[in-house]
């Protein structure tokens, strides 16, 4: 009775299309997305760079001078120029998302998105000016 019957495990065939590993090269918008995500690597690099600066300042005037000379080396300078562009791209895209991510209320009324956006840009400008002033004041 059982002879002739072979049971096999049922394997459904996936209806998923395989997406290319390089899908993000297909459209400019996809590339912009992946470049925005890649900006995090340059954010991490700046933390490293900042901590190297802090360590050099701890090490005394000679170590600080050595750090400044090292920062003018072509590869480091190039890396920092690229990092600056990526960090600005990160800032712009992050602030652009802020009106969607942040719902601010004053009393009962919701603050419109463009004011939330303007607030972020104003804060960015104020922080940047303060940093420049702080570092320029003691020359």
């Amino acid at each position: 009775m059982s002879e002739g019957h072979v049971y096999t495990a049922y394997h459904p065939r996936w209806l998923r299309q395989r997406i290319s590993t390089y899908w993000w090269l297909e459209k400019p918008a996809y590339l912009a997305f992946i470049l925005r995500e890649a900006s995090c690597v340059f954010v991490a690099w700046f933390v490293v760079y900042l901590l190297l600066l802090v360590d050099a300042v701890s090490g005394g005037a000679a170590a600080y001078a050595q750090f400044l000379a090292w920062s003018a080396d072509a590869p480091i300078l190039l890396l920092n120029v690229v990092s600056f562009l990526f960090v600005v791209f990160h800032a712009v895209t992050f602030f652009d998302a802020a009106p969607q991510a942040m719902v601010v209320h004053v009393g009962q009324t919701r603050v419109p998105g463009h004011l939330v956006l303007a607030g972020h840009y104003a804060a960015w400008a104020a922080v940047s000016v303060f940093v420049a002033w702080l570092l320029a004041s003691g020359q």
């Binding site: 995090c40 933390v47 005394g60 920062s71 300078l77 920092n80 960090v87 960015w124 570092l135």
Partner: protein, 117 residues
């Protein structure tokens, strides 16, 4: 005991790090990475740097910048490898390396910023 998922906390750290790094990094990177090395502006003297970094408030702000930015990096990097490059079989390893490096980096930042103050 409710089994809490760490994702919301990690996302909060990502978001906070995104804002803090966006506010502070462009100016700092333009000055220390481009303007001083190229001679557009004279770099601050060593005494100024010691005075600025010696201020506890500066130390606190820079520590916050380092920690939050590192967790911002870790979270985004992990998800980029997951979505962008579709590396899914190494999920645990990538998460461990990403957040692990953020924790180690935070400890190093605390040590270096404490030492300079």
């Amino acid at each position: 005991m409710i089994n809490r998922h760490p994702e919301p906390i990690l996302w909060m750290l990502f978001s906070a790090g995104g804002v803090v790094s966006a506010m502070l990094m462009p100016a700092l990177l333009l000055l220390f990475g481009v303007a001083y090395p190229l001679g557009w502006l004279a770099p601050p003297s060593h005494e100024t740097m010691v005075a600025v970094l010696g201020n506890p408030l500066t130390g606190l702000v820079l520590f916050g910048l380092c920690v939050l930015s590192l967790f911002h990096f870790a979270h985004r990097f992990r998800h980029t490898l997951y979505d962008g490059l579709q590396i899914k079989h190494l999920n645990e390893v990538i998460a461990l390396v990403s957040y692990g490096s953020a924790i180690v980096g935070s400890v190093i930042a605390a040590y270096l910023l404490w030492q300079v103050s």
